[in-house]
């Protein structure tokens, strides 16, 4: 490996490079080239499936383009966007998606924090807890959705047999009860992920701080709110950012349980219906681009509003 031997030379080159920028040595130049060469395949693969399609989606979104009537394809400017943004369905779906996102992320965060504390403070059984919380993470989302659907369905499930639940309660026949089950499935599957991210943040906190606070007379609750939470802020914000964006894409559970009936459609389901079911690539692409813009706005709010430090920034030593 040529790189192994060239590393010290490169370090020398960069440290002096910051001082007075001499011409690059051959070593540094070949290291540069090797670096680019090694990254190129991964970068190309990522761009092929994201950057190019989103640009293509934008181009499609400016056209009337329905695969059922391919002859009518023509440039129509922003009229697809006007159609989407003036339809009440889009706004209902945005409200549904935001509702599912906010409620499930809030529950997941609270529950995840509790599980993280349990794993962090446990003197025994930490491995068992960690293994068992990984099981929901590993289970296919569609499988989890079916599992909960069958549990709640009146003709197969045990939920209606519980005390205080009507035997004939039709959970998927009405909007809010359907959302209850959808959110339950989401929360069950993804809380472990949050718990593990929070646990990782928790373990970086110096135990000495707790000892010192204890000596100063702080009780457990004060220690949690004055030490744990503030010091975990970066880990918390990263976990929330990832989970929020993930929840905003909610698709699998809703598709399996209701297919968007009884007003439970999410924006991803709307995009899928337009693109794949109705083959309306023009209108569907406008929905796709708008979802992309929503994701950008959420990420922007997290980074600017809460000061989420993006991993990789400081990572780059």
């Amino acid at each position: 490996m040529e790189a192994a031997t060239s590393a010290p030379a490169a370090e020398a080159a960069t440290s002096s490079g910051k001082a007075k920028k001499p011409p690059l040595s051959d070593r540094a130049r070949s290291e540069r080239r090797l670096g680019w060469l090694l990254c190129a395949p991964a970068v190309l693969a990522m761009l092929l499936v994201t950057a190019y399609p989103i640009i293509y989606a934008f181009v499609l979104s400016l056209q009337r383009f329905d695969l059922r009537f391919p002859d009518e394809r023509e440039f129509v400017g922003l009229s697809n966007y006007v159609d989407v943004l003036t339809s009440s369905l889009w706004w209902t779906d945005v409200a549904n998606t935001l509702g599912v996102t906010v409620v499930s992320v809030a529950i997941e965060f609270t529950l995840g924090m509790a599980i993280a504390l349990l794993m962090h403070r446990a003197i025994f059984g930490r491995g068992v807890v960690r293994t068992s919380v990984l099981i929901p993470y590993g289970i296919v989302t569609v499988v989890a959705a079916f599992t909960w659907q069958f549990a709640f369905q009146p003709d197969t499930g045990f939920v209606n047999q519980l005390p205080f639940v009507a035997d004939d309660m039709n959970w998927f026949g009405e909007r809010f009860s359907a959302f209850f089950v959808i959110i339950l499935a989401e929360v069950w599957k993804t809380t472990p992920f949050i718990a593990l991210l929070l646990l990782a943040g928790m373990t970086t906190i110096d135990d000495g701080l707790y000892e010192a606070a204890k000596v100063d007379g702080a009780n457990a609750v004060q220690r949690f709110f004055r030490i744990t939470l503030p010091l975990m802020k970066p880990a918390i914000l990263v976990a929330l950012l990832f989970r929020t964006l993930d929840a905003f894409r909610v698709f699998d559970s809703i598709f399996v349980m209701t297919r968007g009936s009884v007003d439970t459609e999410s924006v991803s389901i709307l995009g899928y219906n337009q693109l794949i079911s109705r083959l309306n690539l023009g209108l569907g692409s406008a929905v796709s681009v708008l979802i992309f813009v929503c994701v950008l706005i959420i990420a922007f709010l997290f980074v600017k509003g809460f000061g989420t430090s993006v991993p990789g920034k400081e990572d780059d030593r």
């Binding site: 290291e31 991964a42 693969a45 990522m46 989103i54 807890v129 976990a239 964006l245 796709s288 920034k313």
Partner: protein, 288 residues
């Protein structure tokens, strides 16, 4: 934690642990129970009660047999093969590409490093639905629609960020000087790489591979959008279209049986590699 615990505290922790284990395992046990039910017991009968619904009064493996009876023409075997093949190929390619990139980022000095990491992060947040329409159109034009390759490409691309972050974190911890030390001791550069670096890098690559595999195994959106037949439809997509397929028995129990089959390998993975999965999941995200 060196502090002394009272018996009461221990009981509370123990209770917490039991609750968490119940939380994680109960739905799994429920779907297993459903998959073992006979057609007569799968639907709720009056007066059966809560436990009667939960625990099958008579167990059968018929639901599993039904999945495989028609072999490749049956509803399940071909999708299962598709799922395994597509996820494995996507994993291998993703790990190779990610290892190149992560090695460069962890070891070499070149402009654009931060851009690669930042770009990878942006893609990790990218909404998949936004690419489904264009990919659908592109794949039809290129002849990739409803093929293995048509799913392998998006899976590997969307899992690269996770793989790169995991591998960069692992590669940064490797004491690379050992390679030079081995060469000083008389090993050839290739020997030094194979005997020193490969064993040190393997655990990280393995961890990244598990995460990529779980990602590809789990996907549903691409699987229903970019396929139209059992030629390339994976299990999650096939499950969604199962409902009308079996005319003879209620499909609930068959879906449950299929669900159990695709869940078991993941549970085995998790049981064996839990430490590595946790390390991989958290390495990339919390460093910053």
């Amino acid at each position: 934690m060196t502090e002394q615990r009272t018996a009461q505290e221990r009981i509370i922790w123990l209770l917490g642990i039991v609750v968490v284990i119940f939380y994680a395992l109960f739905p799994v046990l429920w779907i297993i129970s459903l998959s073992l039910k006979t057609p007569a017991t799968v639907t709720v009968t009056p007066n059966e009660g809560f436990w009667g619904t939960l625990v099958p009064s008579e167990a059968t493996f018929k639901n599993y047999e039904a999945l495989f009876t028609d072999g490749l023409d049956g509803p399940f075997l071909k999708p299962l093969i598709n799922s395994i093949g597509i996820a494995l190929i996507a994993t291998v390619i993703a790990i190779v590409l990610a290892s190149f990139a992560a090695y460069a980022i962890a070891r070499l000095d070149f402009p654009g490093k931060t851009a690669v990491l930042g770009g990878a992060l942006a893609i990790a947040m990218f909404p998949a639905i936004s690419t489904v329409g264009p990919l659908f159109d592109m794949w039809r034009a290129l002849g990739l629609y409803d093929t293995w390759a048509g799913l392998i490409i998006p899976y590997l691309s969307f899992s690269l960020p996770l793989a790169i972050y995991t591998l960069v974190a692992f590669f940064r911890e490797i004491p690379w000087e050992l390679e030079q030390a081995a060469q000083v001791d008389g090993a050839t550069p290739f020997q030094a790489f194979r005997k020193v670096i490969v064993p040190l890098a393997t655990p990280g690559m393995f961890t990244a591979a598990i995460l990529v595999f779980i990602f590809a195994w789990n996907d549903f959106l691409f699987a229903i959008s970019l396929t139209s037949s059992d030629a390339s439809r994976t299990v999650p997509a096939a499950l969604a279209f199962f409902t009308g397929d079996s005319q003879f028995t209620q499909p609930f129990a068959n879906i449950a049986a299929a669900a159990v089959i695709v869940t078991i390998p993941i549970i085995i993975f998790v049981l064996i590699f839990q430490r590595r999965i946790v390390a991989g999941l958290t390495s990339g995200a919390v460093k910053g």
